[in-house]
Symmetry: D3
Subunit: 115 residues, 6 copies
Amino acid sequence: MDLSSLEQWENERSEGNDLILKNAGLQMKRLMNIDTAAYREGALSVKTKELLGLTASLVLRCDDCITYHIRRSHEEGVTSEELEEAILVGYVVGGSIVVPHMRRAFARWEQLQAE
Amino acid sequence: MDLSSLEQWENERSEGNDLILKNAGLQMKRLMNIDTAAYREGALSVKTKELLGLTASLVLRCDDCITYHIRRSHEEGVTSEELEEAILVGYVVGGSIVVPHMRRAFARWEQLQAE
Amino acid sequence: MDLSSLEQWENERSEGNDLILKNAGLQMKRLMNIDTAAYREGALSVKTKELLGLTASLVLRCDDCITYHIRRSHEEGVTSEELEEAILVGYVVGGSIVVPHMRRAFARWEQLQAE
Amino acid sequence: MDLSSLEQWENERSEGNDLILKNAGLQMKRLMNIDTAAYREGALSVKTKELLGLTASLVLRCDDCITYHIRRSHEEGVTSEELEEAILVGYVVGGSIVVPHMRRAFARWEQLQAE
Amino acid sequence: MDLSSLEQWENERSEGNDLILKNAGLQMKRLMNIDTAAYREGALSVKTKELLGLTASLVLRCDDCITYHIRRSHEEGVTSEELEEAILVGYVVGGSIVVPHMRRAFARWEQLQAE
Amino acid sequence: MDLSSLEQWENERSEGNDLILKNAGLQMKRLMNIDTAAYREGALSVKTKELLGLTASLVLRCDDCITYHIRRSHEEGVTSEELEEAILVGYVVGGSIVVPHMRRAFARWEQLQAE
C-alpha cells in the first residue's frame, strides 16, 4: 500500500486547514467550529461519535476523512473488533465501491498499531 | 408532514422484501442475510450499530433506510438526545442536502413516541 | 407497493419531457438527443445497453430511470434471470442503500409481466 | 406532473423546519443559521448565490432543495433564460440521472410563473 | 497520464485484499465472496457482467474499480468499440464529472493493449 | 500540500482529453462539445457559469473539475471574496466531506495568484 506516513498526513492536513482559515470568512470559520463540536462528549460518547464519523466517511468514500476518524478512534481506545464491525456496516450499506477505501482504512489501522 | 403511518410503512417494506426474495437467486439471498447479520450484537452493541446505520443512511439520503434505523433505534432504547447527536453528525458530514431527510426523520421519531 | 400504473408513469414522463423541451435551449436539446443515441444498436446490443443503463440507475438510486430501463429491457426480451443478475451486480456494487429501489424495481417487473 | 401546490409545499417545509428546531441542540441550530447566512448578499449577489444553490441541488438530486432555490431565484428576478442556463450546467455536470429532477424543476417554474 | 504500471496496480490491490481478509470477520469474508460470485457466468455472460460492473464503477467514479473491470473486460475479449459504448452510457448517465475517470480508463485500456 | 504544478496539471489534462478523443465515437465527441458550450456567455455571464461549475464540482467532490473551474474563474477575474462565497455555498450544501477538497481548492487558488 502506497500510503504517506501518519506524520506526513497530519502535516498536510494541518497545512490545508490553515489555508482554509486564512481564506475563510466568518460563516466558514463557524462551520468548521461546529464540525469539531459535533464530535464532543454528549449523550453519546466520543468513541461512538468517531465511529459514526468513520462509517459516514466510508459510505461517502472520502479517504482523508476515513484516516482522520480511524486515528481518532484509535486514540479513543476502539479495538480491532469494534473497528471491523463499524467498517462492516459501511461495507454492507455502501457496497463493493467501498472496498478500495477499506483496503486503505485497514492499512492506516496497521500504521497506528505499529506506532 | 405527509408521512404514511408506521404500520403502512412496515407493510409496504415487508411486501417489498417478499418481492425481492421471490425474484432473488442464491447470492442475492445471501447478501440480504449478511445485511441482517451486520447489525447483530458483537464487539459493538446493537444500539451503536443501529446508529451507525442511521448516520450512513442520512448522509446517503435514503428515507426508507432512515425510517428503518430510527424505528430500530427506538426499539433499542435510544433517547431523543442520542438520536439528535447521531443526526447532527450526519448533518455536519453530509451538509444541508440532508435537511429534507432530517425533517422526515424527526417526524418519524414523533410517530414512534406517540405510539 | 404503492406504485402508479405503468400508463400513468408513462404519461407523467412524457409530459415532463415536453416541459423540458419547451424550456430547453439548443444545447439542452442536443444533450437529450445524445441520451437517446447512446442506447442505439452498435457494437453492443440494445439489450446489453439497457442493462448497463439499468445497473447505472440502480447504483445511483433513481427510481424513474430504473423504471424506464426495466420497461425497455422488457421490450428487448430480457428474461427474469437476466434481470435478476443485472440487479445483483447493482446491489453488490451499490450496497444495501439500493434495496428500497430493488423493491420497486421488482414491483415494476411484475407490472410489466402482468400486462 | 403530480406536484403539490406551492402553498402546500411551503407549509410542509415550514412544519418540518419547526420539527427540526424543536428537536435540535445548540450546534444543529447554529448550522441551520449558517445555512441561511451563506445565501446573503456579499461579494456575490443573492441571485448568483441562489443559482449556485440550485445547481448544487440539481447535481445532488434533491427535489425539495431544487424547489426551494427555484422559488428563491424567482423572487430574485431570475429570468427563464438564466434559469435554463443554470439548469444546463447541472445537466452537463450531473448527467441524465438529473433529468427526472429537471422535469419537476421546470414544472415548479411554471407554477411560479402562473401565480 | 501518471498511472502506475498494471503490475504495480495488481500487487497493491492484492496486498490490500490480504489486509482486508486478515482483519475481516465472517460476514465481511462472505460479502467479499458474493462480490466475486456476482460476476460469474449465468443467464448473462461474464463479459456482459464485467461491462455492467464497469459502467456502475464509472458513474460512481471509483478509479480502482474501473481499472479492475477494464482489465477483466480485456481478458474477456471486449473490443475497443464495445468498451467505448459502455463508457458512453456511463458518461451520458453520470455527466461530465465522469470525464477525469474516462481519461484514466482509456489510459488503462492503452496499457492493456500495449502488453 | 502535495499538488502538481499548474503546468503539469494542464499537460496531464490535455493528454487525457486527447486520449478520450482518440477513442471516442461520434456521440462522445458531441457530448464533449456540449460540455464546452454550456459555459459560454449567454443570459448568464461566463464568470457566473464558472462559479456554478465550481460549486457543482465541489459538492460532487471532483478535484480535477474543481481545479479546472478555479483556473477558469481566475481567468474571468473572480476575486478571492467571490471565490470564498461560492466555496461556502458548496461547503454548506455538501457538508464536511467537502473539506479535503476545499483544502486543495484554496491551494490551487494560491498557485494561481503566485503566478
